[in-house]
Symmetry: D2
Subunit: 335 residues, 4 copies
Amino acid sequence: MIAVIRHEASKQQVENLVSWFQARGLKTHVSEGEIQTIIGLIGDTSQVDVNLVEGLEIVESVKRITEPFKSVNRKFHPADTVVDVGGMKLGGGHFHVIAGPCSVESHDQILDVAESVKASGASILRGGAFKPRTSPYDFQGLRAEGIEFLLEAKAKTGLPIVTEIMSVAHLPLFEQVDVIQVGARNMQNFELLKELGRVKKPILLKRGFMNTLTEFLMSAEYIMAEGNPNIILCERGIRTFETYTRNTLDLSAVPVLRELTHLPVFIDPSHGIGVSRYVKPMALASVASGADGLIIEVHNDPPNAMCDGAQSITPEQFADLAEKIRRIREVVASL
Amino acid sequence: MIAVIRHEASKQQVENLVSWFQARGLKTHVSEGEIQTIIGLIGDTSQVDVNLVEGLEIVESVKRITEPFKSVNRKFHPADTVVDVGGMKLGGGHFHVIAGPCSVESHDQILDVAESVKASGASILRGGAFKPRTSPYDFQGLRAEGIEFLLEAKAKTGLPIVTEIMSVAHLPLFEQVDVIQVGARNMQNFELLKELGRVKKPILLKRGFMNTLTEFLMSAEYIMAEGNPNIILCERGIRTFETYTRNTLDLSAVPVLRELTHLPVFIDPSHGIGVSRYVKPMALASVASGADGLIIEVHNDPPNAMCDGAQSITPEQFADLAEKIRRIREVVASL
Amino acid sequence: MIAVIRHEASKQQVENLVSWFQARGLKTHVSEGEIQTIIGLIGDTSQVDVNLVEGLEIVESVKRITEPFKSVNRKFHPADTVVDVGGMKLGGGHFHVIAGPCSVESHDQILDVAESVKASGASILRGGAFKPRTSPYDFQGLRAEGIEFLLEAKAKTGLPIVTEIMSVAHLPLFEQVDVIQVGARNMQNFELLKELGRVKKPILLKRGFMNTLTEFLMSAEYIMAEGNPNIILCERGIRTFETYTRNTLDLSAVPVLRELTHLPVFIDPSHGIGVSRYVKPMALASVASGADGLIIEVHNDPPNAMCDGAQSITPEQFADLAEKIRRIREVVASL
Amino acid sequence: MIAVIRHEASKQQVENLVSWFQARGLKTHVSEGEIQTIIGLIGDTSQVDVNLVEGLEIVESVKRITEPFKSVNRKFHPADTVVDVGGMKLGGGHFHVIAGPCSVESHDQILDVAESVKASGASILRGGAFKPRTSPYDFQGLRAEGIEFLLEAKAKTGLPIVTEIMSVAHLPLFEQVDVIQVGARNMQNFELLKELGRVKKPILLKRGFMNTLTEFLMSAEYIMAEGNPNIILCERGIRTFETYTRNTLDLSAVPVLRELTHLPVFIDPSHGIGVSRYVKPMALASVASGADGLIIEVHNDPPNAMCDGAQSITPEQFADLAEKIRRIREVVASL
């Protein structure tokens, strides 16, 4: 960490600040320039509050040199984390496709979709029971009943299931859920993250649509700091000024995250782009970028889907896409 | 609502869609253009799911004409909402300043600040007990103890208090809190909003730093739809590409929100800009823009504030600022 | 186009507006709703100024239904445009890689790079002679001399060349340049675009780093409206809040642009991400997304490159990448 | 400037880099941390190319400590620059309002508006002769004829005039123009900026709607580095995700710019918000924020304005606004 000192600061003030840092166990290097003095801090600065130091009157700005995340940092944990989901391995060179409808709508719907995506090679079934919707008047999900239907689909097909949690209060309903998803809007719901850190289940953490990768990793750090290392990161599109797509899929998140962290990185091209006819090219691009897996929305009747119909593809389209994903993945794995 | 139909759609498909809309109680107007056919929908479209309609294969795009919010919409409720806080009126031409530290740090600190901001004319005391922090290693607030200290300050000074809630599970601790704050990161924590709609206390809802005004109002709608009309909206800065300020204070939110909704609109220049020496000009600009009130961070020892010290001003600076606010407010009120 | 009329408008005012539209050759459909009246406009609305109509006191908002671009619109020109560059075909199923250094630095450098990228299969040589730099103190390019060096490299290798223009005044220097590039910062330099519309050479138009695809296509429309249809579109990254990458490569631009326009779509992953070790995964993802070609920065000595060294790869890395691009392209072309 | 060195770098590599910096006249301070080594650079680093250093394989990241701008930097030039426009002083505590139509439309229109804004206290007349429009089909301005009409209005009223330049080629037409405006879209048209640096006339430089304040000041630096110190900065709104306003007026630019630079800072609330009924509150907020002046669009017949009618107010509304501006300014000046 570097603290840039204001021009007006007296020698005494700088010395006081240096002592203050040293009292916190940090080594300091002071460089006096013609224009500005800077103090370099060496040691574990992850617990120094940047805002606090910036608030000091004699400090002009503070710049972090090392990342503020530790447990999820590849520097301190070079090997890939492999997350176990019902005996299946995610990350570490294993590639998987998660598929299913945006929302669980009925017993028959989720069973149907589960069977067809399994036949096409999906490894995990997704489906929303609790749905975060911008409007209170939009469909809010089947909630507890939706989870029951998912568990029936799991029992019938053997596919592990992933579904989103929206409140700590609902946690008991997730006991038999294989992977708990934290949605983009809850990425910085810190009380929820802490609670999920105490659970030992795999967590699928989605990137907030206006959050940086550092913020994303800090949210994963919240979970891991409480003791749960089973985290799957998922990029699902960020907000930009483009209006032809619902979000902009940030595929550069794949190489950057793979360098910064040991956690597996998935891509959700369906939410990332929000228009079903663009899902195929973006899914193939995601595979080529080196992602550890994909999440694809599949609906047996997209035009009547209760939510996000615009981004779902049919089981037939998914079968075709799954085959193409395999072919690109084969080349990428061989490169 | 307008649905733009794809070029390829058959006459039969368009007729089917028209019937589908009519079955939902909407009147339709079909305009066949040379290039495109559009269907105009008349009636209460706030419950039609835009995504669902966009998902239909024959639909190119959907454009809302009327706002999706109803209870908070000034069109249906022209008079200003006046929120009662301990007998004090907020909104409807009344102007108030809320002041206090970012975080409650100790019994003495909050008492001190409370007394000094009261002396300078603040109407309500703010102070964070539960603190949303990007890093799990940053100070997370005194939590339950912080609320106790706030209540003591309230007892001693008579100032009503406002403090932030981060989880439905903490609600019992807020029984004697006068105004419950929903922070920017929880603006779309829909389960929390629903729960606060069932409480009858005033809610101070902060705009998410990456949310549009429509999304902001939809979150207020979540609270109001559950029966709680006591909502104070607060703009606190949005994320932009500028790095000299922590956020960019969007003062145009004031005239726009005052036109769209009947709810009071406050501005938080301290968080909005994040640098204490810029708080004064932005506070004065907020008053001139026509805001119903301000929230100002005041700390008796900013350099040592446990969080956000960078944006706090001292009680002396606040006394000076409060006087200037009054002078600008006088002119604005007289214009 | 749809004009939403304000609640307060009188019947007479609406009728006047309808007559005004009809006088401009547009057919109108008026729909009177309970809450709002809307006027739908049918006919060629591309020449109606949205801002002007929005400025009318009785109009609440205006929404375009049809795209404002015509010549570049695939609806009116369904077949792919194939741009001829020195007998080589770009677009329409042909795939090409453009490669070369960010800046032309010396005669030997550009010759060296040209020969090595040609050997690895690049079809066109790139190199900056005029360099747009944020700082007046950064290297501004070799300018006229840089173009001479490029022409020598062209003469020696037979590779067509592409280089950026920054001012209409420099046009005479581009007489023997095969493709004239318009950089991201000049995407809305409308006087330059008009001038290039009068030239018959192929234009490589880069998307502004904060422009929407509609604005991008409107800039292409400026060139095509003046008579030059030889335009190659190039996505090169947009500005987002992410700081680990210089820009965020928006690969969804590929499927969206291919649907909206008949012009070829290239991707520049080097500028798009700005970090050389991320270029490979993003280049492969670009190919998988269905792009018509790539632009890759290659430098024989990246650490000493005069500009943008951070994003250049070496000729050896390019040879390896070119081979991988070919393998992904083969699969994509066969899908 | 700080260069953070990658973990893998050898001692020898670090020494080589240090020598390389020293050869460029910079003093260096090397701090070896447990995790990372950093090199601090002392001296004039404004001419060191950050991208070049970041491109070095052993460098992880580079952080600037001092601003890259010099001539426009208040650190090296503490006193306010006062720009002389026809004997009138701009900046340095003097406050002025520039007013006029978005576009010059006719001889009579500009005369009319000029006379009425002069009567209401405007100091300078604005009016667009060359108009940058997103669409080639929108009105492009009266061009040379528009400048003639402006000069006639100047002759008749005595008001100095400001109008926008779009190409170096048009410079001869601006000989009698008092202030040359560079529009937001040309803020990084570096060849134009250089040319204007050689002219001695005052330049009104508008901030690009997607540019940071650092980039804004670097563009001013382009002009000043060529010898022209007569620059007026103008914030006119930045692009954000909000759709109720055309742009988001960033008023925090006022206190930040006034701290960073000695140049006068104006605000254009008309373009900044784009909706005429919001101009008044934003104009008053601009004054309260401490701006050196305002630019207000005034049109004698806004509904029929050829461009940007949505944001123009009438001469009567301007007269009322000008009076309110004066009252707020009086209070601000006295605080």
